[in-house]
């Protein structure tokens, strides 16, 4: 039997302690992994289980650039990354958030950068850049700036920039994470091309769809990997995936009563002929007419760029209509300051790291109630902390928490406001099974209490869980109907 391309034996890894008071606990203990040439291997693990760190270890970044302690033996493509830095281009790494691995000003420079690092002669760089761009369907984007691309395009560019360096081994960290259905299809095609190329792949994921790409799969639980098995077998064992905190099976979702229809009441949100154009002249919303009754749970769906987030930002006054009106519980949103609308509308933004500003978790959750001088602010804060299992970490800085815990902090900060309307912009991105359970339990509770909820999502199951679906396409309403009647038409195009 030939030597495996990735061979890890008894790998242990511990990050340096985050604060002097907290002792460092090992992330991995006695981790075993063998991947043969040309194989694809999927590692499924919950948020904070160490999926990204595993990728960093394989790419020679941990502990060399991350700090921390490692032990055990690791061989990758014939090299020992613990002993010496890996040669440039030996292992290709796709970051979980591909945007953070792009640092050049144009798409073609991004691809050329690695070739310059490898010392490829100037004359050969151009053709190789072109080849990589063609391979990943990026030729039409050659002169574009990487940060203007969509999520799927950014992932493909990150793949192209690394592919040009011709690594034989790849570590792909959640390759389909955070993408809309179009982006997922694009990246799946790109991954299929890598497989056809004969590359050895290690994929980490929360999603069954990604695990299905692999020849074998393991669970990453409590710092060790379970023995490899065919992905279909692993995915069939739903209780095991639930126990590992990876998935929340559909059958375990909280049941919701049919939404109440308070007759004669004014709707929660009304828009009349709402249009919006950004400063660069891009029309994002064109004549939106909506009336969302109180107590209704609505999924707002559409491909990236359809105008979902722009529409939602009109509901809490962060954006003002260029023409038309937005009425929130009878108040004209254009005449109400966003700070005042915060009493009516709780708003969850997409990236937790761009909306957390508290020094401690408790500060963060208390900011809204204190700002609005809500009665019983302290009691609300403690209730919200307890609701999202944050009481124990209330005195910690949010920045040192895992992604899942930071998402919980942002939800608790909303929950403390106890607003009659909630607007959540892609709340499930990056959530593992436990995160889903926490989110859905809270939402079910709010629905029963008559809160009006607007969920921006690409997940068809979540959309189906709502009462209604509003689908946007190119800034116009494509459909606005009960979830059950419209889901079939939209699946595939707008939902995954």
């Amino acid at each position: 039997m030939p030597e495996p391309v990735i061979a890890a034996q008894g790998i242990g890894f511990t990050y340096p302690p985050l604060t002097p008071e907290i002792a460092a606990t090992p992330l991995f203990e006695a981790l075993e992994l063998r991947v043969g040439a040309g194989e694809a291997y999927a590692v499924m693990g919950a948020s904070g289980s160490g999926k990204s760190t595993l990728c960093y270890l394989l790419a020679g970044l941990a502990p060399r650039y991350t700090g921390g302690q490692s032990n055990g033996s690791l061989r990758i493509a014939g090299h020992d990354p613990f002993a010496a830095p890996l040669p440039a281009g030996a292992v290709g790494l796709l970051f979980q958030d591909a945007a953070t691995q792009l640092f050049n000003a144009t798409v073609e420079d991004e691809v050329a950068w690695g070739l310059e690092t490898l010392g490829v002669p100037s004359g050969d760089i151009g053709p190789r850049v072109n080849m990589a761009l063609r391979q990943f369907g990026l030729l039409p984007l050659t002169g574009r700036a990487p940060w203007t691309l969509s999520g799927g395009e950014q992932k493909r560019l990150a793949l192209a920039a690394v592919w040009a360096m011709r690594p034989r081994v790849w570590a792909l960290d959640e390759p389909l994470g955070g993408l809309d259905p179009v982006g997922r299809r694009e990246v799946l095609t790109a991954l299929a091309a890598l497989r056809d190329d004969g590359a050895t792949l290690l994929l980490t994921t929360l999603r069954p769809q990604t695990a299905q790409l692999a020849d074998s799969a393991s669970l990453l639980v409590s710092g060790t990997l379970t023995p490899p098995q065919p992905p279909a077998h692993l995915l069939a064992a739903e209780p095991r995936l639930e126990e590992a905190g990876i998935l929340l099976p559909r059958t375990r979702w909280p049941k919701v009563p049919p939404s109440p229809h308070p007759a004669g009441n004014e709707p929660a949100i009304v828009t009349r002929n709402l249009s919006f154009t950004y400063g660069d002249g891009r029309a994002v919303l064109q004549g939106i007419d909506l009336a969302i009754p109180r107590g209704r749970c609505v999924a707002l769906v559409g491909v990236n760029g359809a105008g979902k987030s722009t529409l939602a930002r009109h509901f809490n006054g962060l954006l003002r209509p260029i023409s038309g009106t937005v009425t929130i519980l009878g108040h004209d949103a254009a005449r109400t300051a966003p700070g005042e609308l915060a009493r009516q509308v709780g708003f969850l933004f997409q990236r937790p790291e761009q909306q957390i500003f508290g020094v401690t978790v408790r500060d963060e959750v208390a900011y809204g109630p204190r700002c609005l001088r809500l009665p019983d602010a302290d009691a609300r804060v403690e209730r919200a902390l307890a609701r999202f299992d944050l009481s124990a970490s209330a005195t910690l800085p949010p920045a040192i928490l895992s992604y899942g815990a930071r998402r919980a902090v942002t939800l608790a900060a909303l929950a403390a406001l106890e607003t009659p309307i909630l607007v959540l912009d892609e709340p499930t991105v990056g959530l593992d099974g436990r995160g889903w359970a926490q989110l859905l339990d809270w939402l079910a509770e709010r629905r029963a209490a008559g809160t009006t909820i607007i969920l921006i999502t690409h997940e068809s199951e979540l959309a189906a869980w709502c009462d209604e679906i509003i689908a946007l396409r190119a800034g116009r309403i494509l459909a606005n109907r009960p979830a059950a009647t419209v889901l079939g038409q939209l699946a595939g195009e707008l939902l995954a």
């Binding site: 960093y56 790419a59 970044l61 060399r64 650039y65 991350t66 830095p85 040669p87 440039a88 970051f95 958030d97 945007a99 953070t100 691995q101 792009l102 640092f103 050049n104 000003a105 144009t106 420079d109 050329a112 950068w113 690695g114 690092t117 490898l118 010392g119 490829v120 100037s122 760089i125 700036a145 990487p146 940060w147 203007t148 691309l149 950014q154 920039a161 690394v162 400063g279 962060l318 300051a337 966003p338 700070g339 915060a342 509308v345 709780g346 933004f349 990236r351 790291e353 761009q354 909306q355 957390i356 500003f357 508290g358 020094v359 900011y367 809204g368 700002c371 609005l372 920045a399 406001l417």
Partner: protein, 254 residues
């Protein structure tokens, strides 16, 4: 919208195509003129010329407006404070120990205009030069590659931080922040934003370290360059014009 933005405004104008070393040289002259010529009228004319230059090079006016907005607080401070530090000439107003004079007002105007010309000179360089070209220019002028890269990455992450800043402000507003209370109170409201931006900077620089290392920044192999810089005839002409024009201005106007 991604986390990372850039100052560069893509284009194919003559200013975009000019050799980055010539642009660096021109920017150096621009800063010298801003510093050495103490005449408000000259500085105002210079500022207007820079705007015409940038507009002619197809830099979007939104980009120029953005630069003005970034400077507004600084300009306000200069215009309010400088007059009292450099009194002279006819007296207009006396407030206790403070004297407002025509000379003082002109001095405030001059300093504000200087801040503007220097910013727009730098803007003319950064808006029309892509980061890759800037690194090549520094390296060809003798700086080690990592220095050039550091400078260009720093420039590139400034707008990213400004984006983070506005995201956090939006998050605050969404949770009930209202502009109210005294100046000090409002200033204190910015503290949490600074915390978020500092943490964001640390997070970004951590990720960037990994991104650069993952693509072999520390590789022992000598780097090659895809598009070598080569001075064309037009580059030489602009270089000579810049030098002669700048020198002449200094000699004539000063």
């Amino acid at each position: 919208m991604s986390l990372v933005m850039d100052l560069y405004a893509p284009g194919r104008s003559w200013l975009h195509r000019l050799d980055p070393r010539v642009k660096l040289w021109g920017a150096l002259w621009g800063v010298l003129l801003a510093l050495l010529i103490p005449r408000p009228l000259f500085q105002a004319g210079f500022l207007l010329t820079l705007h015409l230059l940038l507009w002619g090079a197809g830099v979007p006016s939104a980009r120029l407006a953005w630069l003005w907005r970034q400077l507004r607080v600084l300009l306000l401070f200069i215009l309010l404070l400088q007059p009292f530090f450099a009194p002279g000439g006819t007296e207009l107003l006396t407030l206790g120990p403070l004297r407002l004079t025509v000379g003082g007002l002109l001095s405030g105007l001059l300093f504000a205009l200087r801040a503007l010309t220097m910013t727009f000179v730098t803007g003319a360089l950064l808006f029309t030069t892509e980061q890759h070209a800037l690194v090549r220019a520094f390296v060809r002028l003798g700086a080690p590659y990592t220095w050039g890269l550091t400078i260009s990455l720093t420039l590139r992450f400034i707008p990213a931080l400004s984006h983070l800043f506005s995201s956090v402000r939006a998050a605050q507003a969404a949770r009930g922040w209202m502009p109210s209370g005294s100046f000090i109170r409002r200033l204190r409201d910015y503290l949490p934003v600074l915390v978020a931006v500092v943490i964001g900077t640390l997070r970004m620089s951590d990720q960037l370290t990994l991104a650069l290392a993952a693509r072999g920044l520390d590789s022992a192999t000598p780097r090659t360059t895809w598009r070598e810089l080569a001075m064309r005839r037009s580059d030489w002409i602009v270089l000579v014009l810049c030098t002669l024009g700048g020198g002449l201005m200094l000699w004539l106007v000063r």
